[in-house]
Symmetry: C2
Subunit: 336 residues, 2 copies
Amino acid sequence: MKWEDIQEAYCGSMGKAVYFPGHQICGAMGRTGVAITNVENASASGSSAFREAYLAIASGSCDVALAMGVDKKALAPPKEGEKADDQPAQGKPLRFSPVMLFAQMAKNHMQKYGTTVDQLAKVSVKSHFNASHNPYAQFQKAVTLEEVHAARMVSDPLTVLHCCPIGDGAAAAILCAKKVAGKYTDKLCPTVIGSLLRSVLPDGDPTFALTQHTAKLLYEKTGTGPEDLDLIELHDAFTIEEILYLEALGLCEPGQGGRLIDEGVTSLTGKHPINSSGGLLSMGHPIGPTGVGQIAEILWQMRRECGKRQVEKEVNLAMAHMVGAGGVCALHLLKK
Amino acid sequence: MKWEDIQEAYCGSMGKAVYFPGHQICGAMGRTGVAITNVENASASGSSAFREAYLAIASGSCDVALAMGVDKKALAPPKEGEKADDQPAQGKPLRFSPVMLFAQMAKNHMQKYGTTVDQLAKVSVKSHFNASHNPYAQFQKAVTLEEVHAARMVSDPLTVLHCCPIGDGAAAAILCAKKVAGKYTDKLCPTVIGSLLRSVLPDGDPTFALTQHTAKLLYEKTGTGPEDLDLIELHDAFTIEEILYLEALGLCEPGQGGRLIDEGVTSLTGKHPINSSGGLLSMGHPIGPTGVGQIAEILWQMRRECGKRQVEKEVNLAMAHMVGAGGVCALHLLKK
């Protein structure tokens, strides 16, 4: 495939530091006249870029589209003298941060359903193990349960190993109309059978409730169900999220997420492997690229090119899930 | 139509001050779960939002989509002590600004083709006249040729009345699949027969050459030509642009744009009225909203609801044209 074959390009980014990132990237690749649009949907920026590329092809506007995600330190680390935890510095107002929200959700889940800190920590252990076999991961070192527990506390009960890192990154995926895909590769190419975005719901939180709502619509539209999912790449910025979304996606009843972690259902050898890439926790979460990176992982898993992090079962149907600040959930369903 | 009928929403904005503007707006309207995506393509941000809404419907993803544009002081005016003209302050490096680029393009056009300052100024006079009858315009006062000449010089030969203002603004358009439009209105609704975006070309500038290239593709795709255009809303951030794009769109040979202005071809009573709204020069250019505002003007003109700024001839086919920094040209063709 030549660069000239790309007809439309979408770039997802929330980094306010880079203006018109799509144009900068495409300009550097060579000026072909390709149609470029920059999209921004917080953590779901990359997923939205992928979705717009999909819609451009589905609409007949083009046959080949590029979805990119890029960000450079979209979220800056705490500055010297600022505290990263949930305790305000003396005399300063509390600075809201997502970790406080998810720490509270973890506490609620523990209180309501008896979910344990061990179950939360096991999500981190699995994630780091998977990432230890992913050459594209930000963290490529496995961790033990003890290490997760003993790590620096950020917001109780979440130590730093329960939290995704920040960083720079980039990811890209090329989408083709079915009729032309064979021109470019004879390798397996998954088919996008569902692409759904939903935002700001009347009630409920923009993570659990919105994921539940969007998944229900997607299953209806595609005639699938949670039991069909052979792989899920999901938004695990914090360990509690894997447990929450397991439930929101319908893989178990509310409150049963922790049990599924204990049973290894979401590990590489389980029935519903989650985040074989290492996910946001360990592959990383540079924001713009994250949702596009999920798609790449699904492709590689379906092609069984993942080496030691290869999912044991055959991956026939896989889901990419992202939520984003502002209140957005993006789901993509890919079929082998 | 109820707010709940909107299925997808796109918000074009380049204002770095507002995060996730689409989500903020849709949240305030009432949380329905509508799918929201924020897009950013410089001056063409609104046009890109309109285009994505169009593609979402064309792809079959939804039947009703909202395209919005919004910005709050996307470009700040020169700060106290900064000079707005093309002369650097003593000892300070020259600060590049778009007006310098277009002033140079005006000079080049004058030298190469004999275009006059009078012809440039007439664009401003026409624009302000049209806007004087537009209740949505930022400037609603007609100006004389003498006033344009005598206004404060910004970058020779462009006085401030050759330049569009900055400002806050918002615009919205609702797009429907043909099969459902009748459910919501019995008024005339134009059909989008072409939607094209092109970016960064191999050679040539991102304004004239890119417009020429994109227009050629659009005419080919839609079986139309410049002679068919009954109304054009185009990107006239500076007066020279109306002359340049007249030529780039093929309404005359290169160098003949000034003559068309003299002959009144682009006035409300002319063969190819341009910017009946007042355009960027007089309706205003708040960035994100501008491209969506063009669509509204076309709709009103086709419905003959424009009062004293109503185009004389019947508007059967109209074009909305935007260019944007970063190198993008968006064209939409609407048919009665």
